[in-house]
């Protein structure tokens, strides 16, 4: 407990309220926090649409290569984030895949799209795995009964499966979002500018030292804690 809590308390005491308020009023800091929150939310929404069906298929069906798919989902959690950034750069940078997306007006280097794929790549497993656990807890007989009552498979998924797994889905989604807020290693390789909050902290620390980066670090830690408390509050009330 000491090890976990003291650095957090220390940074707030060390920074002081005056500097915290100053940072909250700092346009560059606020812009970076809004950017980080917004892109992380988009990444979460994108994975909600694409990852939930995948999580459902894994939870409900046995198929050849299922364990490989599950391992692939977990890989981003295990690899160093800077290595993930390099992997994303060599895939979506100046490559055929990158060119393909460029054709549709989507570029990943130095854009919000780049921030989004970096966040998605590294934090999607939190949402997918949590949703998978939630779907497994939904009794398959509920879905079968709903089918006999006239609901199509998609209607069953939307009206029965998702609502009964919502606690895990919301928990996973918020965990993914808050995890996205803290992503640094992969983003800094793909997108230095525009700066997300973790990149801005790193930049200020490198250029101006601890006293200039610590208030921003305290603000983002405070914000992360707020998100964490909201997660707990919502999941406890569901």
């Amino acid at each position: 407990m000491f090890f976990l809590s003291v650095p957090i308390i220390k940074i707030f005491i060390g920074v002081g309220s005056e500097k915290l308020l100053e940072t909250i009023k700092d346009g560059e800091a606020i812009d970076s926090i809004i950017l980080t929150m917004k892109v992380s939310a988009w990444a979460m929404v994108f994975v909600l649409f694409t990852g939930l069906p995948l999580a459902y298929v894994i939870a409900r069906y046995d198929f050849y290569g299922k364990s490989v798919v599950e391992s692939l989902i977990d890989i981003p959690v295990m690899i160093p984030h800077t290595a993930a950034g390099i992997a994303l750069l060599t895939t979506f940078g100046d490559t055929n895949i990158g060119e393909f997306f460029k054709f549709f007006g989507i570029e990943f280097i130095g854009t919000e799209y780049g921030i989004m794929i970096a966040m998605m790549f590294l934090s999607a497993p939190f949402l997918i795995n949590s949703a998978k656990d939630g779907f497994r807890k939904v009794d398959v007989k509920l879905e079968k009964t709903a089918r006999t009552l006239g609901a199509s498979p998609i209607n069953v998924f939307v009206r029965i499966t998702i609502p009964n797994a919502k606690k895990d889905i919301i928990n996973g989604a918020l965990m993914m979002w808050s995890r996205g807020l803290g992503e640094f290693g992969a983003i800094v390789i793909l997108v230095y500018h525009p700066m997300t909050t973790p990149v801005l902290i790193f930049d200020r620390f490198n250029s101006y030292g601890l006293s200039y980066s610590a208030p921003l670090a305290a603000v983002i830690i405070g914000f992360s804690m707020l998100v964490f408390l909201i997660v707990r509050f919502i999941t406890n009330r569901l």
Partner: protein
């Protein structure tokens, strides 16, 4: 014309095979599918409902419905644990099908079902804190509200307090008549089956072993396996009664076998045997008597004879009449 005809229905889910099921069910027939746990009863119901891939045909009123998707089959399904939707309250559960089906006079039907099943006071409640009986009535109401042609009941009485079972069994018969549905009721309990069924099918290891009128199936099992499952006792070769056929067996009810110590029995068949065991139960004694290599099980009511009829290893006579024998 058969209302529901199941022809050569097979389904393989990888770890269980439902093999070549053939059933004919007439209008207004209360059909009971009787089998032990793991015999394939639920799987057969799910296959009829279109929830499992299958081969063969399911013909309802002359139309093959085996390729119609589940949601369009007009089948009501009530699972053993009722499968009420936890995210919806009682009324929302019952009305679930209204969003997907065009239900004629829906409000009138809803009121009728709610009145008949006495659910008025439960409508606003969550499904979480209800008794087994309440959950069962809601699950049946939900299935009936979807106006099914066929009602599939999977062990609907197993989660019900035994004291309410008789009343509920009567309700099930009433539902079947009132809402004009073909009912297929699955159970492992042959007493339940004997009360409810017009027709019974015995299912074992994914195959129908016997099907027919309830009385016939319950009194004349087609083979030893079915007889044992139906609770027949004292199943022995007919040869010991003097019959020539080596394959024929007979069964005799433990309640009608008479016993005597001094050769005073005047029954058609009398055997001498050694008492193996005597066990006192609430209102009767269980007497196990060995006749050659066969052990007879005999029930002696306490009101007829107090105390074990004879001690272990004592020789006694047992007897029964020809009319009390069932040949299998």
């Amino acid at each position: 014309m058969d209302y529901l005809k199941i022809q050569n229905l097979s389904s393989n889910t990888g770890n269980f095979l439902l093999n070549n099921i053939n059933l004919d069910i007439q209008k207004n027939e209360y059909f009971v599918l009787l089998g032990q746990s793991g015999s394939g009863k639920t799987m057969l119901l799910e296959t009829i409902a279109g929830l499992n891939p299958c081969s063969g045909n399911i013909i309802y009123k002359g139309n093959d419905i085996s390729l119609i998707p589940t949601e369009k089959r007009e089948i009501g399904f009530v699972y053993q644990d009722f499968a009420l939707f936890p995210n919806l309250n009682v009324e929302e559960n019952i009305r679930f099908s209204q969003k997907y089906k065009n239900i004629e006079d829906a409000d009138e039907l809803f009121k009728d079902i709610v009145d008949f099943l006495k659910l008025e006071n439960l409508l606003e409640r969550s499904t979480q804190d209800l008794s087994g009986g309440e959950k069962q009535r809601i699950a049946i109401a939900r299935a009936l509200f979807s106006r099914p042609k066929i009602l599939l009941l999977d062990e609907p009485l197993s989660a019900i307090d035994p004291t309410f079972r008789n009343a509920i069994m009567k309700s099930l018969k009433d539902i079947h008549r009132r809402y004009d549905v073909i009912t297929i009721h699955v159970t492992h309990n042959f007493r339940e089956a004997s009360y409810l069924a017009d027709k019974i099918a015995i299912i074992m290891d994914g195959e129908i072993k016997q099907v027919g009128d309830a009385k016939d199936v319950l009194n004349q099992p087609a083979n030893i396996e079915v007889a044992k499952f139906l609770g027949f006792k004292n199943i022995f070769p007919a040869k010991m009664l003097g019959y020539e056929s080596s394959s024929k067996v007979y069964s005799v009810d433990p309640n009608i076998i008479r016993v005597a110590k001094n050769g005073e029995l005047k029954t058609d068949y009398v055997f001498e045997g050694v008492v193996d065991e005597c066990m006192g139960i609430v209102d009767h004694y269980k007497l196990f008597v060995k006749v050659k290599q066969h052990q007879f099980f005999i029930k002696i009511l306490k009101r007829d004879y107090e105390g074990c009829y004879a001690d272990r290893t004592k020789i006694i006579q047992i007897g029964f009449d020809k009319k009390d024998i069932s040949f299998i």
